[in-house]
Symmetry: C2
Subunit: 212 residues, 2 copies
Amino acid sequence: MAESSDTAPSSETRAPIEFYFDFSSPYGYLAAHKIDDIARLYGRTVDWKPVLLGVIFKSTGAQPLLDIPLKGAYAHRDMERTARFLGVPLAFPEVMPFPSIPAARAVYWIKDQDADLAATVARALYDEAFGKGGDIRDAEVVVRIAAEHGVDADALTAALGDPAVKERLKFEVEAALQAGVCGSPFFVVDGEPFWGADRLDHVERWLATGGW
Amino acid sequence: MAESSDTAPSSETRAPIEFYFDFSSPYGYLAAHKIDDIARLYGRTVDWKPVLLGVIFKSTGAQPLLDIPLKGAYAHRDMERTARFLGVPLAFPEVMPFPSIPAARAVYWIKDQDADLAATVARALYDEAFGKGGDIRDAEVVVRIAAEHGVDADALTAALGDPAVKERLKFEVEAALQAGVCGSPFFVVDGEPFWGADRLDHVERWLATGGW
């Protein structure tokens, strides 16, 4: 991507790393434990963008990974091995994949007020689901976890039923599809797309070198 | 996997790394450029086992990656970027994916006489397809490339039409499915399965540590 300025941008003005993920995605959870540290090393921030794989899979014709013959059994084993490889605790929720709409809506609503707080709540939701094997499907659970981090519970409860918030998530998922997001996790660094927790090495080298 | 001997096996007696691949798989080609060096570092050999993704995809319901909306465009970009990341030359053949039955049959027939020669021919076939962007669909091309490495052209030509050789490939693909092979490349190290060129880091650490 060409720079529009003659001078190199300072780290403050560099674009954030776009981090697309579905709260129901174990590989998204694993990447969520790594991407902030990687960004920090290169003076970047992370823009946490929850999406809905159910909608994306309608475009790509994909099925939930764990439901696919052969691949499902392999993927389960690979997720646990990758978690140990990365040193991230992993416990599967009882239901997988699970509907993640309330969690995703909550993050966008919080983000419009405080992006750092939205990322904190997103991390907490992911840790509840895949760090503890908890159930974050219901709006009540999402509100409780958000409230533990200082979010106004009543306001968030109202927001989760607000048609404007519902539309906001639809818009974001559609925008992700337009941007080519085909799975979770998915990163965009200065216009370059990276799919998978197994592309964190590419993401890091891209940040270090500006591309190759 | 339990060892049946009381003493640690020497490197000569350690099981080879099983390397499953389809000649039509670009990620298989990239892995083929790396797996021998990795094996050598840990005193292992590599058992080159061509398979047919068309048969495997009937079990997993998968489509050829490059034909999938969103994923296809991403995968094309990722293949080129991964090749540069690994330092492996990559040129796409005109037709992708392509039928790889003659190439696969040839490798098994050669392997029954000389496993090292079979690996050499397999590397040469992959380099023709993805190093030079050549066309290795036809038996004549496969025979020509094998003959350049000392294989008897007439005997191989006869073998490629031999029902026993055809059955042999069918048997090997079925055995791969039974072993859980769900894509290309796919590795098995001491019973542990690894899918993808992006799992070479896991393969290497598994060889170094015996698992984690």
